[in-house]
Symmetry: C2
Subunit: 198 residues, 2 copies
């Protein structure tokens, strides 16, 4: 009953993710978004409302995708394997151009901590959900006796998120894949239960 939209909304969102992810929120001017998304100003404001609103949507979508990768990496019988797979899939088994973008949530927290509390809270909340997922993994493994209980699952999950944040920073300074790999290996070796003869 009216003129149809001429662009692919999902494709446009994809382009927006790429831009925000690599350059950050403030460093990505509207003009660049329009060019990357392949749409005009009017269409932009009609479909996405606002630069900030678009960013909210992008952040949400990014978090959902990350959550999906986590879900695909998860294997109930192997906590540390889950952690390893998640790290390797997001940092090593992707083109360098992608891994060097780090994590949008982490980037956002650092960029907007003192600038936009709401966006920052949204990013932190997404990271919080990831942490809760990791905690559930550890708790499950501990219940099943596959992981030592001398550290609470929450603390272990928190530490995994610490490693995650550290790795994202590292990946943004274009360190070599090999170094990233050995960082992952060493971090996981520390997490491996040491069987101390009783």
């Amino acid at each position: 009953m009216a003129r149809p939209v001429e662009f692919d909304r999902d494709a446009a969102l994809d382009a927006a993710i790429k831009l925000f992810w690599s350059q950050g929120y403030s460093a990505t001017p509207l003009a660049q978004l329009l060019e990357g998304m392949g749409i005009g100003r009017s269409s932009f404001y009609a479909s996405f409302g606002d630069k900030r609103s678009l960013f909210v949507e992008v952040l949400e979508l990014f978090a959902a995708r990350t959550q999906k990768i986590f879900a695909e990496s998860r294997r109930p019988e192997d906590v540390l394997g889950t952690v390893r797979r998640f790290f390797e899939r997001t940092l090593l088994q992707v083109p360098r151009s992608r891994s060097s973008r780090g994590c949008l949530m982490v980037n956002t927290i650092l960029e907007l901590a003192e600038v936009d509390a709401e966006l920052c809270a949204q990013a932190a909340s997404a990271l919080g959900r990831m942490e809760a997922d990791f905690e559930a993994c550890f708790a499950e493994a501990q219940q099943a006796g596959r992981y030592p209980k001398d550290q609470p699952a929450a603390a272990l999950a928190s530490h995994v998120m610490l490693l995650n944040q550290g790795l994202r920073v590292a990946s943004r300074k274009r360190v070599s894949r090999a170094k990233l790999q050995s960082e992952i290996d060493l971090s996981l070796s520390f997490l491996h239960p040491k069987r101390i003869p009783s």
Copy 2:
């Protein structure tokens, strides 16, 4: 032989550090710098050349101060204690307003990775010097037989930097002191040599 400067250059630099540190490079407008530093535009451009030049100077100064804290934390006979002291002095034994700023080098790398390669390289280089220092600590301890040699000192130092980056991100999302403390404790407990009976 000419009109003397009316402001304290070091104090002005201090104010600039605080602003860049908490808000980032692009999110800190010149007007705010001028107000914070307590000087006028002309004096600013006469003394610091440029917003970007000022940032270079700030970054250098910040790195030097961080290096100093490291040096004060260093105790040759105790690597892990050195690491712990460095973390605790920069994250716990400071007002929250300060620790919640994270680390200027880390912040800069995340903010400017795809925007200003030079500034980013400068920040990365400063982090690299820290890593080298940590490596020297581990190497020394290993030579003296106070730390196991099953991991190369470089890898250990690299891991400490990973923890550092992770902690800075965590501190920027205003997590409680208690949580920061336990993150530090757990990370260090993983680094503690396990005495496996031979």
